[in-house]
Structures are given as structure tokens and as C-alpha cells.
Symmetry: C2
Subunit: 349 residues, 2 copies
């Protein structure tokens, strides 16, 4: 408790510190910023640091920003209607990376509108955002807003075909392949695939991976049922009923995502079919508070959203020096839990 303490209302300014330490304001800056080319005596430094501590002084970043042309702030643009699981995880990852760089996240959500995106990015730039993370929810191709060109930008879970902007994208094809392979390794030779929205990039990539894995095992993809869904849980339920109606079940079912897998689980249980004893079920996403919690716990392919967010922020900050300027593919590893088991029927279907 010192007489010098400011009222809690007003922040101490640099000049207050200088006065208390008996030095000039510039010296305070030199000490605090470790300005290179400046040598400060140890004694002065201690006096300054003491005054800083006593006054609880913190530099005003708006002033610093004005002077230096940077704000220590990264804009995170969520370009989609939805704003759920993915955004939350990606933001968390990006946030953590930012914090350890001394940056903060300025967050906007475009609702999927390009006009709004343009507008909000302008807002971000007005506030001196140093860089942008432009994220979509469903992996897809996007139109990079013009405004984003004025500042370092990285795409997260999307890509701009005609722009040389770096992008972080999950390796969905490999994910589909490895997920399928995990099933093949369990001895499954008859696998149905209940897909997500057929038009989506991720859906197609995963399906390619599925087929590649089958072919790699000497199987003919055409002999495996592929039914189009839409990533909603109820489509998993509906498609399982379709499967049931059509005749004998496959020994394993791959689903477009975990929500569909939960729907499938519900449909199977309702029909008295046991998972994984009678049929194995596999999801995709490893959705937070869902995949690992349902019973049986879902085997799935992990979409590492948080990691992707972190990568984006790190790459922006130049934290990864030799980072590829182009598309970074992130691995989606299979995670095996209780909803899959060795195939019931013997090999050779």
C-alpha cells in the first residue's frame, strides 16, 4: 500500500511510472520493451520495474498499436450459418496458440454470407487485426473476401481454389480410408456406408477413401451398399431402416459422422440388433461429449478441430518456419471403441 497508488478508476500511465522511478518516460519504454541498442543500468532497470509493480502499470495497447501499426490481435472469422462444435473446438485451439504468442482473438461470425464476411473483415481491419483466420464449418471451397487480402490470412477447414492462400484442411480421404481399413482389419468384408450430404467435399473425399480401402483389400466397391444421408442423426436412423428392409445386414456400417452413427445405433437397437455383436458401427468426427459417451462407445475417425485451430494460429504467427505455403493436410486417425468388433461371419463373406 503506497501513497503513490492510483485510484482504482484510473490506470497508471507511462509518465507516472517515469516520475516515480525518477527517469524519463522513454527509459520506461526501453526497460519494458528491452529495446535493442539500448543499454540500461541494472540499477535504473530495478527502479523502473519497481515503479511498474507498485503502480500496477500496464502499457495501453491501443496506444502501442497506434504507434506500431499492430494490435496483437488476430481476427477469427467463422464463415458459416452454424456455430457449434467445430467452431468451438477450432476457436479453443486457435485461442491457446494466440495466448502463448501474446495475441488475442477478435471473433466474428458471418452467418455464411459473403457480403457479411466482407463487412465484418473490414470491421476487423479497422481495429487493426494483424492477421485473419478464415474458418468454415463443413470443409469446403470458399470465396476469399477481398478485404482479407490486405492482411496475412490463413484458411481453416476450407480452401480458395484460385487464391494462393495457405489452408489447413483435414485429410478426409485418408480418414475414410483408414477408418474403413480398421474395419477390414477386424475381418469385415461386407461394409455399408451411410454417407453425409453427397454434394459436400468431405463426403466425397471420405467415400473415395472408403472405396480405395476396399479395393486395396481386393474387394469390389460396387458390391458394397452406399446410401446417401445428410449428417443429421435422423438420417442415420432412417438409412438403417432402409438397410433392414433391403435384406440381410452387412457386418459393418460406416456412417457419415457421429450423429448419424448415433441415429444408426438407435435404429439398430430398436430392431433388436446388437452392436457390436451382430453388426459393427463406425462414426466420424469423434464428437466432443458424444462419441465416447454413448453406449456402446463409438469407434470413429477423429477430426482434430482443436489441433487445426492451433495450427492455423501458429502458422500465422510464423511459428512454423518451414511450413508449407499451400494446403496443410491434417491427419484424421481412427479411434476404436466399443461399437466395433471382429466380424461375426468368417472371411470370404
Amino acid at each position: 500500500m503506497s501513497d503513490h497508488e492510483q485510484s482504482p478508476e484510473s490506470r497508471a500511465r507511462r509518465v507516472d511510472v517515469a516520475r516515480l522511478a525518477g527517469v524519463s518516460p522513454a527509459t520506461v519504454s526501453f526497460v519494458l520493451n528491452r529495446t535493442s541498442g539500448q543499454t540500461i543500468s541494472d540499477e535504473t532497470r530495478q527502479r523502473v520495474l519497481g515503479a511498474v509493480a507498485e503502480l500496477g502499470y500496464r502499457p495501453n495497447r491501443a496506444a502501442q498499436g497506434l504507434r506500431q501499426g499492430r494490435s496483437a490481435t488476430i481476427g477469427f472469422v467463422s464463415h458459416d450459418v452454424d456455430f457449434g462444435e467445430f467452431s468451438a473446438a477450432a476457436i479453443k485451439g486457435a485461442h491457446e496458440a494466440c495466448i502463448s504468442q501474446g495475441n488475442l482473438l477478435l471473433l466474428v461470425n458471418t452467418g455464411g454470407s459473403n457480403r457479411q464476411a466482407e463487412h465484418l473483415i473490414t470491421d476487423l481491419l479497422d481495429r487493426q487485426a494483424d492477421a485473419l483466420i478464415f474458418a468454415a464449418v463443413g470443409t469446403r471451397s470458399v470465396l476469399l473476401p477481398d478485404a482479407a487480402r490486405r492482411v496475412p490470412t490463413i484458411l481453416l477447414n476450407c480452401f480458395a481454389p484460385h487464391d494462393p492462400v495457405p489452408a489447413i484442411v483435414p485429410d478426409e480421404e485418408r480418414g475414410g480410408r483408414e477408418g474403413t481399413q480398421a474395419l477390414l482389419d477386424l475381418g469385415h468384408r461386407d461394409i455399408a456406408y451411410l454417407t453425409g450430404k453427397p454434394a459436400q467435399w468431405a463426403t466425397k473425399a471420405r467415400l473415395r477413401g472408403f472405396r480405395a480401402a476396399l479395393r486395396g483389400a481386393g474387394l469390389n466397391p460396387r458390391e458394397h451398399t452406399v446410401l446417401p444421408g445428410n449428417y443429421h442423426a435422423d438420417s442415420g436412423y432412417d438409412l438403417v431402416r432402409t438397410l433392414l428392409r433391403r435384406g440381410p445386414l452387412p457386418t459393418a456400417i460406416m456412417c457419415g459422422n457421429d450423429r448419424m452413427a448415433v441415429g444408426a445405433l438407435l435404429g439398430l437397437m430398436e430392431a433388436g440388433i446388437r452392436v457390436p455383436e451382430d453388426v459393427s458401427v463406425m462414426g466420424y468426427d469423434d464428437q466432443f461429449q458424444l462419441a465416447a459417451e454413448v453406449r456402446p462407445a463409438l469407434s470413429t475417425v477423429r477430426l482434430p478441430y482443436e489441433l487445426m485451430g492451433r495450427l492455423a494460429a501458429e502458422q500465422l504467427a510464423g511459428g512454423r518456419p518451414g511450413a508449407p505455403a499451400g494446403r496443410t493436410l491434417v491427419h484424421c486417425p481412427p479411434v476404436m471403441r466399443g461399437s466395433t468388433a471382429a466380424a461375426r461371419r468368417s472371411r470370404g463373406a
Copy 2:
């Protein structure tokens, strides 16, 4: 395309606009800010506006902020380990309200640590955040970080017992009561409650509501099974199996949240019990992409996270003039879907 256009690299400054319009920099500000007490001729105004448009001029908000002591930025502090559904929805609501006020959200996540909270809020204040939204994920009592006292703050989904800070909190007791009432209205007289984490505020409040509704219907709460869970889907599953083991099922099951309800659904289906024909199931939260999508679709109690986020931002901005300074209770309305139906057994259990 005019000769006056700046290179895309450098933003036009106010002085550029002034020069192009043939006026002084101050006049530009007067026009743009509609400064009261200043009268600008219509002709001058047009010239200025024309120059602004031509140069694509936008005021530098860091400079404005430095001058005015405000940044048009609200800090959103998510004070919890988790960062999922709730945060996403609340942030979305807060974001929308902020945008329509001309503000942007500066987002931080404390990971639940008070030390980190203090630290991050300081970071926020260094960047001149004008106000704070301090949000928890599970409704609960929090320790308001000292730093937050320096700026208008509103609590979201939490409360600080010993601080006179306004708070937006869901009316969990009423939610529990009305959810139970909906079941009573369907003729159910034997209702089991699979609760969330017993120690949590929300759990207790919902349970109070449950009991109040039963008493209101002339029933004795003690005759109804209450089993403690933990808000995870698997606890719903496990508790249903406990229920099954104990003897005849109740006609309806209330769950701590939707995830538990999904677990319960899975457990019931597995046991060959039909929902809602044999037993009705009710969730809580109306979780995005879950409650409405599972089959049968979950009847539940809607926790309006997005609305709460919006309310917080509006209240901060003074958008709601006569707003209560204290705790704002937000209504959680029951939403009836396919997982509930009229009680199988006749009244009088």
C-alpha cells in the same frame, strides 16, 4: 478508377480525404461523426462523403479508441474447461447483439482457472475492452476477478454471490417444474428422475422444480425414484439399467440433460423397451443437432443459450434501459417431441 486511389497496401487516412475534398481534416470528422453543435453545409458534406467513398476511407479505430478511451470492443470471457455447445451458442447471441451495436467481441477462454481469468481480463483491459461478459458453462457461482471491476461487467450463466454484478441466469427451477408438469399433463403419475451432477446448482434447482411439480399434482416426491448421474450420456445409459434391475419401470423418465436422455434411449431400446409407447423420456437443454435429430425426437426443456448471450450484450450496451440491475432469470420452456406420449397406465398409478 481515380488517380487518387491509394495503393491497396496503404489505407487512406483522414488527411487524404480532407485533401481530396478540399477541406480541413477536422471537417471530415465533423461530417463522419455528425458532431452535434457543428453545422456543415450540404455541399461540403457531399464533397467529403464523395472523397470518403472514392478513397474507401475508414477511420482507424485504434486511433479513435486512443482518443476517446473506448474501443468498440466487448470482452467475452468463457470461464470454464469445456468450450462447446454452450459457449458457441452464447457467443453467437452475444456476437449478433454486438454487431448491431457496432461492437466486436474479443474472446478469451480461462480454462476454468481463476488465475488465468485475472490474467486474461487484464489483457482484455489493456486492449481497452469497453465491457465484459463473464460466462460459465455449467450455471454456477463464481469468484468475480478483481480486474473485472474496472469496467462494466455482466455475468452470463453464473453469479457472484457477494458482488452486485448483474447476471443472466436460466430459471432452472421453473424449467424443472414445467418439464415435469408437461409429463404430468400427459397423465404420468410415476416419474423417475435421472439427475445430472448432484452438486451442481442447476441440478439442485431442476430437482426442486421436479419435486414442486409433483407436490402440486398431489403426489409425494419421495415415492418417485431419483438417481444421481453426471450429465454424460453414459450415465443415462447406466441409470436406465439400474432402473431396469430394480423392478417395474416408471411410466416416464426425466433426464438431467439431453445427452443423458440419449444414453437412456439407447439403454431402453437395447432392453427392448419402446419409447414413447412403453415409457416416455424427457431431456433438458434442447441441444443443437441432437435433441431434435435423434429418434424418437427428444421432448426436452429448452435452455436458450443464444438468447442469453444476446441479452447479456444488450444489457451491457444499456440497450435495455429499465433492465433489472440484479439477476435476470431466463425462462426455459418445455419442447414436446416424439419421446413422450400419454401415460400407458391409467391415472392413479
